[in-house]
């Protein structure tokens, strides 16, 4: 009976080592097990939704700023801000800008609570569909921004858009979760 030589066997082993093989299970199977064990937390499926209230608050501020800007464009209100003010040149220092941001955050929270308590309308089937579409779009934008952040983690523009997306998603989720006819008492 013939035998392979040591070299021939080693060659086969090399081939086996390099052989590409498909996973033994599909992800859905693995995910189902992980979900059963609580390793996947659906409510936290997107990490930026949880555990970082300061980030959400900052995002909310950016959302407010972004929303104001969009509002101006929508109603054609002329922007009278000087370029130096837009670029933040009116701040004396980073600390000064941080203090202003914190003050704006506080004001934003108060205003949000007031608006939510007094001006929120009932949720309808149509609005649910709109919220779903908006969430799907925000997911895509969020993924794109996350990808960009991996390449340029300190880019201020990408960071601002990322935070704004996060804030918009949180706000949309809150709106979408409201039962029909329920008015929020606050955020």
């Amino acid at each position: 009976m013939s035998h392979l030589s040591e070299e021939q066997l080693d060659h086969l082993i090399d081939q086996e080592r390099a052989r590409k093989q498909a996973p033994l299970n599909d992800w859905r199977t693995i995910a189902a097990r992980a979900r059963e064990e609580g390793l996947i937390r659906d409510s936290q499926a997107r990490s930026w939704q949880m555990g970082r209230p300061w980030l959400q608050a900052a995002a909310a501020v950016l959302l407010l700023i972004g929303g104001a800007a969009i509002g101006r464009m929508s109603v054609a209100v002329p922007d009278t801000s000087a370029p130096s003010e837009i670029s933040g040149a009116s701040f004396a220092s980073v600390d000064d800008a941080t203090t202003t941001l914190e003050r704006a955050l506080t004001e934003y929270q108060r205003a949000s609570a007031f608006i939510a308590a007094n001006a929120s309308g009932p949720t309808t089937v149509d609005s649910s569909r709109i919220y779903s579409a908006r969430l799907a779009a925000l997911d895509q934008v969020g993924d794109a921004m996350e990808g960009a952040l991996k390449t340029a983690p300190h880019d201020p523009v990408i960071n601002q858009y990322y935070l704004a997306t996060m804030g918009a998603r949180v706000a949309t989720q809150q709106l979408a979760a409201r039962p029909v006819g329920l008015r929020l008492k606050g955020f």
Partner: protein, 192 residues
């Protein structure tokens, strides 16, 4: 996109997308070692699920001291060997180590012709297959194998010798021009 620290933090937090990215990147290699150690695709699929659950459970303990793939690979080997022990597939290993009759071929083995090294590996005893896969395919030393399997380095060497001898027989029909013989200049370079 490579799995990175950001993904790791998200996976620990239970982010399914991050976990899927981790799995997608490492499953081909992790599942390959599980498949080779088990020698049975159905069993391997079950064991693979346990391996991945253990990897996910253990994520918070990953300190980044080694490559993530290396860390996960070690979990895969440990978990697979434990699973095999549980179903007594390795029960014979301790006997085989000291028993030369372990390489005695029965009739079915004499008539078996492997079409691939994977099939041939499946014909090895569980213990011999574990030693062969860990040493020749995965690059473990005999000392490391001894620790994993609870045998001596000498026992590991003995099992490897027997495994290779058996594989050379089972794959003998593959001797043709497709496998280089002369002039390859390659010594057996697997770690000892």
């Amino acid at each position: 996109m490579p799995f990175d620290q950001l993904d790791l933090k998200r996976a620990i937090a239970g982010d399914e997308r991050a976990m899927q990215r981790l799995w997608s990147q490492h499953a081909p290699h992790i599942d390959a070692v599980v498949r080779r150690l088990c020698g049975d695709p159905e069993l391997a699929a079950d064991v693979s699920q346990e391996v991945w659950m253990q990897i996910f459970r253990a994520l918070p303990s990953y300190r980044g001291d080694s490559q993530f793939g290396t860390w996960a690979h070690r979990i895969a080997v440990n978990r697979t060997l434990n699973a095999l022990r549980k179903i007594r597939r390795l029960a014979k290993l301790e006997v085989d180590i000291e028993d030369d009759s372990a390489v005695t071929e029965n009739e079915s083995e004499r008539t078996f012709v492997a079409e691939s090294i994977e099939q041939a590996m499946a014909k090895l005893s569980p213990g011999a297959r574990a030693v062969f896969v860990l040493h020749d395919v995965e690059g473990y030393t005999h000392g490391e194998i001894g620790e994993e399997l609870g045998i001596t380095p000498g026992g590991s060497k003995s099992q490897l010798f027997k495994a290779r001898a058996k594989l050379k027989k089972l794959l003998a029909h593959l001797v043709d021009d497709s496998i280089p013989v002369a002039g390859k200049g390659k010594e057996h370079v697997a770690p000892v």
